[in-house]
Symmetry: C2
Subunit: 336 residues, 2 copies
């Protein structure tokens, strides 16, 4: 025992495990990456040695030696925009099953080296990246690993695959639903940004298809609660006859709720209000907002599978995938 090479401050290595199990370090490595062709006897011996020593493989060493890290990075905008949560769960659902580690980074995690999230992941040797954010000022450039762009973002990048949710379709779904309820004066709260733009397009198409006049507010503004409040105020001022409003997202609808109540308009009695995203906010009892669900879990699953295909195969034939959204009706909308 006392001639054990391993000192107490140092973590055990693959050699320690090998010695303990009476095998070579190579065999231990094979067991760790559970490759076939290891006899059951040795495998259990190694596994036992691992638990006895409390051995933790070093990801750094494995990455350096193996030229891949079995991990992928997910880049999001901001932890406050919770739409990524389901996306992430979808990604993990797939990646966990394949033994990949998923790490998340927001766009702002630029350290002292002014390193972008992208560069951060690259220097961590990730095997692939899911880009689920609005592209920063720098844009995103081709990098050495596969990239999948997920979500309703306007991003494009040479060689990157795309899995998007069909925002235009979702907005059309919403407007059609409102029209079906008998509304003839339907306004839209929009904002700056790619997904807001696509939702706006869907709104306009559907409104025109129904022979109605579009009413817009918030163009170029922030897609926040405050943005929704201000846009709603402007919309109400410009078009008091509105009986239904579709917000570019749930958060803006939340802001609109404040404006509406301030103006003495009851929801849904006076005006029907719709959000978009089916966030926890929309699902809450107090708001109970009719909204559109982008099915981000499914987007995540598709994104992960696409990325995996790029990583493991060399098969470039992956068409852009679009996940159809679903309408979620609740009590913030009512027949005219």
């Amino acid at each position: 025992m006392s001639d054990d090479k391993r000192s107490d401050d140092n973590r055990p290595t693959i050699y320690d495990v090998a010695r303990q199990a009476g095998v070579s370090k190579s065999l231990v490595s094979l067991v760790l990456r559970d490759s076939p062709g290891v006899s059951e006897k040795r495998r259990t011996a190694v596994l036992q040695a691992i638990t006895e020593l409390g051995y933790q493989p070093s990801r750094a060493a494995a990455t350096l030696a193996g030229h891949h890290s079995r991990s992928i990075g997910v880049i999001i905008d901001d932890y406050r925009n919770m739409w990524f949560v389901e996306l992430l769960e979808g990604i993990r659902h797939v990646m966990d099953a394949h033994g990949y580690h998923v790490t998340v980074s927001d766009q702002h995690s630029t350290g002292v080296l002014r390193q972008s999230a992208l560069d951060g992941f690259l220097s961590m040797n990730v095997d692939g990246i899911v880009f689920a954010a609005e592209p920063g000022t720098e844009g995103i450039r081709p990098v050495g690993v596969p990239v999948v762009i997920a979500g309703a973002r306007d991003t494009t990048m040479v060689g990157a695959d795309i899995v998007r949710n069909d925002d235009a379709l979702g907005a059309r779904l919403a407007v059609d639903y409102l029209v079906g309820l008998g509304h003839r004066h339907i306004g839209h709260l929009t904002a700056a940004g790619g997904s807001a733009a696509r939702r706006r397009e869907g709104y306009q198409e559907a409104v025109q298809a129904a022979g109605l006049t579009p009413h817009l507010a918030g163009l170029g503004g922030p897609a926040t609660e405050e943005g929704g409040y201000q846009a709603c105020l402007a919309l109400l001022r410009a078009a008091p006859e509105l009986t239904a409003i579709l917000a570019a997202n749930d958060t803006m609808a939340f802001g609109a709720l404040a404006a509406l109540s301030e103006q003495g308009r009851a929801v849904p009695t006076d005006v029907s209000l719709m959000g978009y995203d089916n966030s926890p906010l929309a699902a809450s009892r107090y708001l109970d907002l009719t909204t559109v669900d982008n099915r981000n879990f499914d987007v995540g699953v598709q994104a992960a599978e696409t990325l995996l295909a790029r990583i493991t195969q060399n098969d470039p034939a992956i068409p852009p995938i679009s996940i159809p959204p679903a309408l979620v009706t609740r009590s913030s909308t009512a027949p005219r």
Copy 2:
């Protein structure tokens, strides 16, 4: 002279940079870790070579060779509990300045190897960990790196430092404020979990100190919107005379709002409602909730500085730190 390894199709290495700049790989390494004692001439030459080649240092190699990764891990409960966001910003504020990378992981990120977040970070060779979650079923055990427990959590761990926010004080602040407003019947919506327990204690102390009777609901229930709704319903049934309610957090207050409006009680006219956390929810125009701010940014700053002290020095004299909370008054509360 034997410094010419080459990598044509692969990413450039430190050797490529060295050759390009006409120096040795060691000098490049010195520049990368900007250590003193490098002449300005060589430094700029190396820096230029780095940009020319688009060189990205390999974190894996640096970690393996250097015995430390210049990165720390932050473990959170769930991306849906947004209280960690400010905490994280505080941590980053400090860590960025020291060139440390911070990665976030939620408790559920156990991959196929049933690896806990803690183990995940350990195998990534992090230099330290901030634990900002309720301890899982497994609890947290001593590990080989410094750990700081941040936030109002009941966690303890041998050798770990603690930076907490004083939940009991915050609840007392809230009750005292309500009492000052003239309320004599003040109820509390509580839940399972460490921080809820401490807030409950503070509530009870303050209520008793004011000579009032405590009214509790939600014991052992979830600290969610639904939990707040159910607890509020129960509270109203048990004690209809209440004119003020303090929820264990903003989300529960959000649920309580639904219960209150369902029961025809106006806020703040009939009952004053307070949340806790000063989350974006409380700050919204539509809710405009009086609440308690735990100053999690400051908690993050302290946690990071404590961790840094443990990592860089060997100075064990760090007392537990407690960040005092602050009352945030808004329009959901009114004089009796």
